[in-house]
């Protein structure tokens, strides 16, 4: 399996100045709005701690809460399924659809179904799947995965959307009017809602004590997906559990403020029992989560409520685009989750970070994201998954820095001070430092030399 080349992909993203500028500005704007909302609530930091505590408690008793949830959901008339992995999840969903001879599925945004690669699986089996979230629909029509977990098409300009819609929906070529484009998507999606055999949603929270679940959206498309067809399937990752209804308020106050800088999503929809004459199914999905829960240093990444705040604030993400991470989850949270799916493929991702820690500071459930990025680097080195050049560089640097004589000899060797310094500091024509930056001018003497002359010879 080839290592994902984040730096290369980022370089291509950066080369397109117009897209880059919009992407950076748009996401920074979300971060600013998030700050305004967060700072507007005196107990914000207390809420974050509370949310973290609730999630940690839940994860520590996850098996019990899952069983409680299943019991209550079943009592509510919902059919609960358990999926060990993506393949089981997709098969279960297909079997549910097949049992009803369902051919058309409308769905709201769900990162879990992206993670499971469900859409192609169903399409190969003759099911027509329509994404109904605007951003996700744009991405589906453009045959691209979402680049952001909350705003899936944020890397596209309106001109890009116009082109995709003209190609796939037959809208007027060159018409970039936002209202026109949004209305076109609405007009072309509505008929699907009306004739779909089944609807699918994810869930933001699943409540153990009631067996109900909550979906937070801004477009109302999840409600249409769930409420019009006679079959509603909800795919829910097992980490979405919270124990009680009263805990919901903590998370609802944090979620949209962190995600978009709005006090609450337009729709906060609670689902508990199937409507008369319809069926409701819940698929509880593990797909590596239990294994992650057992990882001493990384389990708390399961606290994530998928708000995307860490992505919006991440200076690297904003300048490289979600697609450069080559994974379902991008940005800081992606960096600490993706290696659990495939450590070799994603071994470069923990290095796509300056360890600046802004992600950790905005995280509404206080995941120590940048500490985990740091720890992943160790794991990757220990498992011998570092690229050769990095490994060799660090070996040389380690040798040099472990030996004062060698270090000083290296500094003095050529008289230019620079050339034999370890790679992180040196500059030569082959070194990436100098591609877009000037090299620091070496002084005539090092500090050490100055110190010897001025402090030890008095």
């Amino acid at each position: 399996m080839k290592r994902l080349d984040h730096a290369g992909a980022a370089s291509r993203f950066i080369a397109d100045e117009k897209h880059l500028a919009f992407h950076d500005a748009k996401l920074w704007d979300l971060r600013k709005k998030r700050d305004r909302e967060a700072h507007g609530i005196p107990e914000w930091e207390e809420l974050r701690q509370l949310a973290s505590d609730i999630k940690e408690h839940t994860l520590a008793h996850l098996a019990d809460y899952l069983e409680e949830f299943e019991r209550n959901a079943t009592r509510n008339g919902v059919k609960v399924h358990w999926a060990r992995d993506a393949a089981e999840h997709n098969q279960i969903v297909f079997d549910i659809l097949a049992a009803k001879a369902a051919k058309t599925l409308v769905k709201s945004k769900s990162m879990l179904t992206e993670e499971c690669d469900m859409r192609p699986f169903l399409e190969r089996r003759g099911i027509e799947v329509i994404e109904t979230d605007l951003g996700e629909r744009i991405q589906q029509l453009d045959d691209e995965p979402p680049s952001h977990i909350v705003v899936p098409a944020v890397h596209k300009l309106r001109g890009d959307v116009s082109a995709v819609f003209a190609r796939k929906l037959g809208t007027e070529a060159g018409n970039e009017d936002v209202t026109y484009l949004a209305e076109s998507q609405r007009r072309t999606t509505r008929p699907y809602f009306l004739r779909a055999d089944a609807g699918m949603t994810g869930a933001n929270f699943a409540i153990a004590e009631t067996g109900g679940f909550v979906v937070c959206t801004n477009e109302g498309n999840a409600d249409l997906s769930a409420s019009l067809p006679k079959l509603h399937i909800a795919s829910i990752g097992i980490e979405k559990l919270i124990p009680r209804v009263e805990h919901l308020g903590v998370f609802i106050r944090l979620l949209s403020r962190s995600a978009l800088g709005s006090p609450i999503t337009q729709y906060t929809s609670h689902f508990r029992t199937p409507r008369a004459g319809t069926e409701m199914h819940i698929v509880l999905v593990d797909n590596g989560r239990s294994e992650r829960l057992g990882m001493a240093e990384f389990w708390s990444s399961l606290k994530c409520i998928r708000c995307g705040a860490c992505m919006n604030t991440c200076p690297v993400y904003r300048r490289s685009g979600g697609l450069s991470y080559g994974a379902t989850y991008s940005g800081p949270i992606g960096i600490i989750i993706d290696p659990t799916f495939n450590i070799r493929k994603y071994s470069n991702l923990p290095f796509a970070s300056t360890l600046n820690g802004s992600c950790t500071s905005v995280c509404p459930v206080k995941i120590n994201i940048h500490d985990q990025i740091y720890k992943w680097r160790r794991v990757i080195a220990e498992r011998n998954e570092l690229p050769l050049v990095k490994k060799a560089t660090m070996k040389a640097a380690g040798k040099l820095f472990g030996n004062p004589k060698l270090y000083r000899a290296a500094l003095a060797a050529t008289g230019t001070a620079i050339e034999d310094l370890p790679r992180f500091a040196i500059y030569n024509w082959f070194n990436p430092w100098g591609r877009q930056r000037e090299v620091p001018q070496p002084p005539t003497k090092t500090f050490r030399q100055w110190y010897i002359e001025n402090r030890t010879r008095r």
Partner: protein, 245 residues
Amino acid sequence: MGLFIPCYVDAFFPEVGVATLEMLERCGAEVSYPLDQTCCGQPMANSGCQDDAAPAEALFVENFKDFDYIVTPSGSCTHHVRSHFDAIPQTAAVKKVRGSIYEFVEFIHDVLKVEEFPWAEFPHKVGLHNTCTTLRTLRTASASEIAEPPFSKPLDLLRKVKGIEFVTPERPDECCGFGGTFSVFEEPVSAKMGYDKVHDHRNAGAEYIVSADMSCLMHQKGCAERLGLEIKFIHIAQILNGARE
């Protein structure tokens, strides 16, 4: 007190080492610089290479184990020694070293509690670059992400300098993109972040960018020079020690 001068300061910015030393001496501290020092081990450890970090960490302890205080003009080196530094067995000497290290601003502000700098005058407009480590780990200043009352130790100190004027960039807490080995292995993003950072300060009217970390400034300086941007860089120790430009 032991003075630790990071390798890149030793090699490229000796004047920052001198200013740090002189400033500490002005305050009456008895400072010595162990001549066999090299590096704290951070570049290797931050790359995950614990085995390669171990010799540097062991050497660091050997050099600094006998001091009451270790002071360094670098937030990230301080953070490495204080919070990571576990490539070697955690002996009593190692623990002592880890508990004795201070970043320069912390030391002047919290330990020595210096109240005035009568010799200092810096008649320029400066933008303060709080490095990510000083901001979010050492917490020498409040971070814009956290809902907390504003505070800033570097500003507390700099405000006592005659003639100094402050300008605030649009994104004061945004990382400049240095990130150690990130600057090389993720060069495209690193350089772009650096360009954005120096533009942001220049647009705010800064003549100087001042910081407690030379590593970030080395990167920003390289970016500004390549862009042909008129902006200068200076370490906070130099200003506090009386540099005029």
